[in-house]
Symmetry: C2
Subunit: 229 residues, 2 copies
């Protein structure tokens, strides 16, 4: 080829560094953005490659094919979020404050991880096919349930929580509100205006969610009156 054509070697890409881990991370970061933005079918490998510091060939080298890349992206983002959640310690709080804290944290972590939300939405469109295939995702999910189970036990023992309080149901209640808040913002705002998604609206909503969850399991719970706007 024209390798070494003359002394005008200026644009020679010669000499690159070996750094597999950084390359993989770089690919995954960009791929996460693209899959979250466009979905599995919608994302474009050429586009992803173009945005990375490396080449398309490297994507196939490390991840096999598009689905393999997607699977890695999914597991990575799940791990990241669950790790964040796990950092929160409520073992030394009384049951009700603990529950309030967990609910608020879940609400906030969803707001702060829109990419996670979008990837889970996409996963659901695919009937959770790749979550089911994953070895690691199921393990990650146990932690949050365990934490809620502990709070439930303590709460029932001390008589502040209803006997029918259930950790899985609690997680469902918290998640449904927190998830929907982010996942459906676009259509909800388009349909009903964005008043619930302003800074003020989100504050109120967050409080409402806490009240809903606590109201469902705390005996005699009285929600705080919100200043009507």
């Amino acid at each position: 080829m024209d390798r070494g054509t003359g002394p005008a070697d200026k644009k020679r890409k010669t000499s690159w560094k070996k750094d597999p881990e950084a390359v993989k991370e770089n690919i995954l970061t960009i791929a996460t953005e693209e899959f979250a933005a466009q979905g599995l079918a919608g994302a474009n490998i050429n586009e992803i490659a173009k945005r990375t510091a490396t080449s398309k060939r490297m994507i196939y080298y490390y991840f096999g094919d598009k689905e393999g890349l997607y699977q890695h992206v999914l597991e990575r983002v799940y791990s990241s979020l669950r790790n964040t959640e796990q950092a929160l310690n409520v073992a030394d709080l009384d049951p009700v404050p603990a529950l309030r804290r967990l609910t608020e944290a879940t609400f906030d972590s969803h707001v702060n991880n829109p990419q996670f939300i979008r990837l889970v939405m996409i996963e659901n469109i695919h009937n959770a096919e790749y979550v089911k295939k994953s070895e690691i995702i199921p393990k990650l999910n146990k932690a949050i349930i365990d934490k809620l189970a502990d709070v439930c036990e303590r709460g029932k023992a001390s008589g502040v929580l209803r006997q029918d309080a259930d950790p899985l149901e609690l997680h469902w209640m918290t998640s449904s509100a927190s998830f929907y808040n982010v996942s459906n913002e676009a259509t909800f705002s388009a349909s009903f205006g964005n008043s619930l998604h302003t800074v003020e609206g989100q504050k109120r909503l967050r409080q409402r969610v806490v009240d809903m969850v606590l109201g469902a399991v705390v005996i005699g719970y009285q929600p705080n009156e919100l200043h009507s706007n």
Copy 2:
């Protein structure tokens, strides 16, 4: 071609009927299934055409392009669901039963319209681009809010609802639970087992949702004790 080959004319496609409306309906029905199942990028026009009683050419004839088809599908499914909702009359119920009824109906209508749910999920992946473009969808959404606003007014007047009860927030609370219940069934079940999505589980959940919503706005609301399993 082999037009009119011999007297054995049994399977002859010759002589078709003109029936534009039926053709359009047929296309939209199949397209709804495909878009709901595969998403906008994932759906395949050839595949849709193959499953219709007509041809790809007809799809482009009536709907212009893939996006046009998707837009029609979306508007059709929105209309259908909102019409169902509108059929429910709660004007002659007292505020609390009315609210219970509306909540239950919303929960049920989501369960019964998974295609609608999936298309809205897909729409959110696309940042509600096509909902925003639509002329008709925004109009459809006013009805449900009006209904809730009426209930709120009556409830506040008679003193059974808290003064900070808000129709839009109520709709959000009801929708979030009802939507998530269907939209995230796949990942939720894959992560935590399907106990909430059995017939029994869904009964409990539906009751929980009603309790959460009523608990948030009805003064002194006491949820029913659920038989612990």
